[in-house]
């Protein structure tokens, strides 16, 4: 375990925090927020993997073309994940709204029986 792996371990820590929150959650909105936290760990990991020492952002409009840049692919993946994550979070929150309307509760432990 060394300092050069610290950003990766940070991603693991964020992921596990979110996962622990989901496992112990007693409220669906809290569960969804934990999922959002968990998702940010993917962004941390992707950006950490693409990082290079002494390199700049892969945007050439004000730097010369031969300058060292970080990996643009992981940054594009991060944008993708943020957008899809926003849509998924919104859909889950919509389900939480309807669950609360039908059962009057947001406790996942209370949702045991299938109801028509």
């Amino acid at each position: 375990m060394s300092a050069e792996h610290l950003p990766y371990l940070l991603a693991a820590w964020v992921l596990l925090t979110g996962l622990a929150g989901i496992v112990t959650s007693r409220d669906l909105v809290h569960t969804i927020m934990c999922l959002a936290v968990l998702q940010t760990s993917v962004h941390v990991l992707l950006l950490a993997i693409g990082y290079r020492h002494d390199a700049t952002a892969p945007i050439y409009d004000d730097v010369p073309a031969d300058v060292a840049v970080v990996d643009p692919v992981v940054q594009a993946l991060t944008v993708t994940d943020i957008v899809v994550g926003a849509a998924a979070t919104a859909l889950l929150l919509a389900f939480a709204v309807q669950v609360n309307k039908r059962t009057g509760s947001l406790d996942p432990a209370g949702l045991v029986a299938l109801r028509g």
Binding site: M1, S2, E4, H5, L6, P7, Y8, L9, A11, A12, L15, L16, L19, A20, V23, T24, L45, A48, I49, G50, Y51, R52, H53, A57, P58, I59, Y60, D61, A65, V69, V70, D71, P72, V73, V74, Q75, A76, V79, T80, I82, V83, V84, A86, A87, A88, A90, L91, L93, A94, F95, V97, Q98, K101
Partner: protein, 251 residues
């Protein structure tokens, strides 16, 4: 703690150990030169005249992935519209006619209202700027779209639900969202028809750093901006409707 919670946390710890084991096997932070990414970064400038390599990856070199992502956003917005519809036993009331005092938001302060309304037009302009210059500098369609959608949230923040629905009616958002997502497909199919392959870059590449450059990258960026802004604005509207306007019918 319940037995289920204990088992769950034990599983999280085990997964964590496994994950750390794997992550420690990666090359050190900042020491690796990712060959594929750097090749694409060079390609973006040399062969596409796009000064923003991230946008070049999103809207040209890996545009097929972005099409899937745009459709995921489209499907997500459609699903929220379906789940948050007016159900049997519910009625939708116009906000001013609502008598359900407890379901109304707290009155907005004058300072918040003035600042929020003042910010709406600059926010839309800024979002359009970010989306339109995605291929040149920092920005891109998704980011610009999210900023434009924030303008819709600002109108709601100012306490004007009715104005919000008036400014961005759902019927119009459905159309602009379809133009954004469908336009992406059409650009891809036009490229296919000219023999360049699906989503190939068939427009003139221009001069790097200019607004009209990089071929289809700018066009697709704007289309995605339209799609993202419409989808996110739809989401905001559905949730506002659900909390403020839809209520149970009187028994």
């Amino acid at each position: 703690m319940s037995a289920r919670g204990f088992i769950g946390l034990a599983a999280v710890v085990l997964l964590g150990a496994w994950l750390v084991e794997g992550l420690l096997g990666l090359p050190g932070f900042g020491e690796d030169a990712p060959a594929y990414g750097l090749a694409l970064a060079d390609l973006a400038l040399a062969e596409r005249n796009a000064t923003n390599a991230v946008s070049a990856v999103l809207f040209d070199l890996r545009a097929l992935d972005t099409l899937g992502e745009a459709l995921a956003l489209f499907a997500g917005a459609a699903a929220v519209q379906t789940v948050l519809r007016e159900l049997a036993g519910e009625e939708e009331s116009e906000p001013p006619a609502s008598t359900a005092v407890d379901r109304r938001p707290a009155p907005t302060g004058d300072a918040v209202r003035a600042v929020a309304l003042w910010l709406v037009a600059p926010t839309v302009l800024y979002g359009a700027y970010i989306a339109a210059r995605g291929h040149v500098s920092v920005g891109g369609g998704f980011q610009g779209g999210a900023i434009v959608a924030a303008a819709v949230a600002l109108v709601f923040l100012a306490g004007r639900q009715a104005t919000m629905h008036h400014l961005a009616p759902e019927s119009a958002l459905d159309i602009t969202e379809s133009i954004g997502a469908g336009g992406f497909l059409v650009v891809g199919l036009v490229a296919l028809a000219t023999g360049a392959g699906f989503l190939g870059n068939v427009l003139p590449l221009g001069e790097a750093g200019r607004l009209l450059s990089a071929g289809t990258i700018g066009v697709l960026s704007v289309l995605i901006g339209l799609e993202a802004a419409s989808a996110l604005a739809t989401l905001i509207q559905k949730f506002v409707e659900q909390t403020v306007e839809i209520r149970q019918e009187e028994p």
